[in-house]
């Protein structure tokens, strides 16, 4: 009897989740499609006009997967993140399939040359976070900050300095820059990436000269 009840409860949850997800997808189709289009382009699985069509197809696959496994969705969770997670998994699968077809597994360092030899995102972020000075302390006086920021252009330096001043908080940075938090974070992350790259180049040069 308890098994029957359990399975009935599971069916009820699944039905409720399906209804919830269906409504959410209907309301957010356009946004999801746009994001998936961007994901596909970033993953190198589509380009040009074909990306829109591929995004529609991917979204359809996501919908099918999501509704089929609706029981796994936690009602307290965020539906968009869950759906995008499914999309990311599908993209991952497609990338792997493509790699198998090409008889070669892609490595992160192949996809992003230099990623394996330079600082990881976490390391760089932590190093910058360590520079975030307590209130009252002059950042300019911090030699570590100056050394790090000297690697990038003035524009990037400004973004990074502001970010460091505000504990790398995107929302505060957005206020300073007068843009949306999303745009501020994109700028910050690009500046960070350029810093990583500059760092990598410098390290390489140092290695060569030592050698």
């Amino acid at each position: 009897v308890s098994l029957d009840e359990e399975s009935m409860e599971q069916t009820d949850t699944s039905t409720a989740n399906r209804t919830l997800l269906r409504g959410f997808i209907e309301a957010e189709t356009e946004t999801l499609q746009r994001t998936l289009r961007y994901y596909l382009l970033r993953a190198g699985l589509a380009n040009g006009q074909g990306a829109t069509l591929a995004a529609v197809e991917l979204l359809n696959e996501v919908v099918v997967e999501a509704l089929e496994h609706a029981d796994r969705f936690k009602a307290s969770g965020q539906p968009k993140a869950w759906l995008l997670g499914i999309a990311a998994n599908l993209i991952k699968r497609k990338q792997a399939e493509r790699a198998t077809r090409n008889r070669r597994e892609p490595l992160v360092r192949d996809l992003y040359p230099g990623a394996g030899n330079t600082l990881s995102e976490d390391e760089l972020f932590d190093r910058l976070a360590a520079l975030t000075a307590p209130p009252g302390q002059d950042l300019e006086a911090n030699e570590g900050a100056a050394t790090i920021l000297a690697h990038v252009s003035d524009g990037d330096q400004r973004v990074l300095r502001l970010a460091v001043l505000h504990n790398l908080n995107g929302a505060a940075l957005a206020q300073e820059l007068g843009v949306t938090p999303g745009a501020a974070r994109v700028r910050l992350h690009r500046a960070l990436n350029r810093l990583r790259h500059a760092w990598h180049v410098q390290e390489g040069q140092k290695g060569e000269s030592d050698g």
Binding site: N60, K74, G77, K92, G170
Partner: protein, 445 residues
């Protein structure tokens, strides 16, 4: 207080951790590493602020992408589509450039690219023509007016491992133009024997039986019934229920049972049950033909399965998410209906396979023991009970009479009394009158 402070300290740390995760997300996205993207999205599922931050960033990336593409659609002259003749002869600007660089013995980058494309196209056309001719020429050589054989699967002789003259020997083929003879008769295939098929479609009948009978010992009879069911158990027979009631020290109880037996042994079971009885008080057998319902259900199932398949195809072909959602909804409804119909079909098939029999076992009265005990106290108690019952009945009657009947009787008595008094008064008055007349003297005398 401490808790609040701890929470306040934790907030910026958590926010910093989110910013870091977000940076990892954007970097992973930029390099197309969806392993990391997927893991961060999993994290965001349970962290609404992180999800919001990710979505904001996605919006920025998408907007950037759209801006970039709208710029790209404003095609620069360098990337404008070049027509094929133009490609061959080169644009005016390219001509001018070529003139400027006429002393160079190697073509420029664009010229080389154009030359390569043009060369590829020409080579493609030539090759296509050559292949077409090579396929056409041998057939013409071999048969003069021989019709070209069409190979819908695109398999040539070489594809199936036969070529040249060998092919003619190993693959006999019919060519009307060569022989003028009628086509060879098709190999004789035996017609499927109709005798092997059922003349009439198999009927699906649910059989039910009910038997009430008197037996010497109801418990022994139940054991016999259970033994019979056990004997048929291999064919699916089983006891559904068994109930016993009215048990006393003096005799057997009443027993009712419900059993399922294979339909092929239904008659045998009924006869064997009747054989247990001293007297069969009721026997009823019925059959319900459900063939029509079964066939109808099967047809509906088939149609629903086809609809389901079609919906699955539509889901694969559909271009918009709205259509997909609608198709999925329809599919869910169809699947629920299919499950329900399957359940009914299964029930009918099962019911038709096993007949159900309801049995009532009553103790046979003559076989019950005769009571030989004298119980005077019981008799006195019963007599007293009867006396109390009769007194209670009398009291009830009196009460009822006094309330319901007596008022009517009193009223009626008064009326009768009045009438009687009136009649008596009239009689007395008339008598007195007559007496007075008799006593008075006659004036004539």
């Amino acid at each position: 207080m401490d808790r609040r402070e701890a929470e306040q300290t934790r907030q910026p740390a958590r926010q910093l951790a989110r910013e870091k995760t977000l940076y990892r997300y954007s970097s992973a996205l930029e390099r197309g590493d969806f392993e990391v993207v997927s893991s961060i999205l999993r994290e965001a599922e349970q962290d609404p602020p992180l999800e919001r931050m990710i979505l904001e960033m996605n919006e920025v990336y998408c907007a950037e992408l759209e801006d970039r593409q709208s710029l790209a659609t404003q095609v620069s002259p360098r990337h404008r589509w070049t027509s094929f003749p133009r490609l061959l002869r080169g644009s005016k600007k390219e001509k001018k450039m070529n003139e400027l660089h006429s002393r160079r013995w190697l073509p420029s980058g664009d010229g080389l690219r154009n030359a390569l494309i043009a060369g590829s196209v020409v080579l493609g056309v030539v090759l296509t023509f050559a292949i077409g001719w090579s396929l056409y020429a041998p057939s013409k050589r071999a048969g003069g007016e021989t019709a070209l054989t069409v190979d819908p699967w695109g398999l040539t002789r070489s594809d199936v491992g036969v070529s040249g003259d060998d092919a003619d020997e190993s693959l006999p083929h019919y060519t009307p133009a060569q022989t003028g003879a009628p086509p060879p008769a098709m190999p004789q295939v035996d017609e499927p024997s109709l005798a092997g098929l059922p003349q009439e479609s198999e009927r699906l009948i649910i059989r039910n039986g009910r038997i009430s009978m008197s037996v010497r010992d109801t418990r022994a009879a139940r054991v016999s019934v259970e033994a019979m069911v056990a004997e048929m158990a291999a064919e699916g027979a089983y006891v559904i229920s068994s109930e016993e009631y009215g048990e006393s020290d003096e005799g057997s109880p009443y027993i009712t049972m419900s059993i399922r037996v294979p339909v092929s042994r239904f008659d045998e079971a009924m006869d064997r049950l009747a054989g247990l009885a001293v007297k069969v008080t009721a026997r009823h057998e019925s059959g319900q033909d459900v063939t029509e319902e079964y066939v109808d259900l099967e047809a509906r199932l088939e149609s629903l399965e086809a609809a389901r398949q079609r919906l699955l195809e539509i889901m694969q072909e559909t271009r918009t998410t709205k259509d997909l959602l609608q198709a999925e909804e329809q599919l869910t409804a169809r699947e629920a209906e299919i499950e329900s119909l399957k359940g009914r079909v299964q029930y009918l098939a099962q019911s038709a396979k096993l007949a159900s029999i309801w049995i009532e076992l009553q103790p046979y009265i003559l076989s019950q023991p005769v009571g030989d005990r004298w119980l005077p106290a019981e008799t006195a108690r019963q007599a007293l009970e009867t006396l109390v019952d009769s007194l209670r009945g009398l009291g009830d009657f009196m009460l009822f009479f006094a309330i319901a009947v007596l008022p009517w009787m009193a009223a009626l008595g008064l009326v009768v009394y009045g009438v009687v008094r009136f009649v008596l008064w009239r009689v007395r008055v008339s008598r007195e009158k007559r007496a007075a007349e008799e006593q008075s003297p006659d004036p004539a005398t």
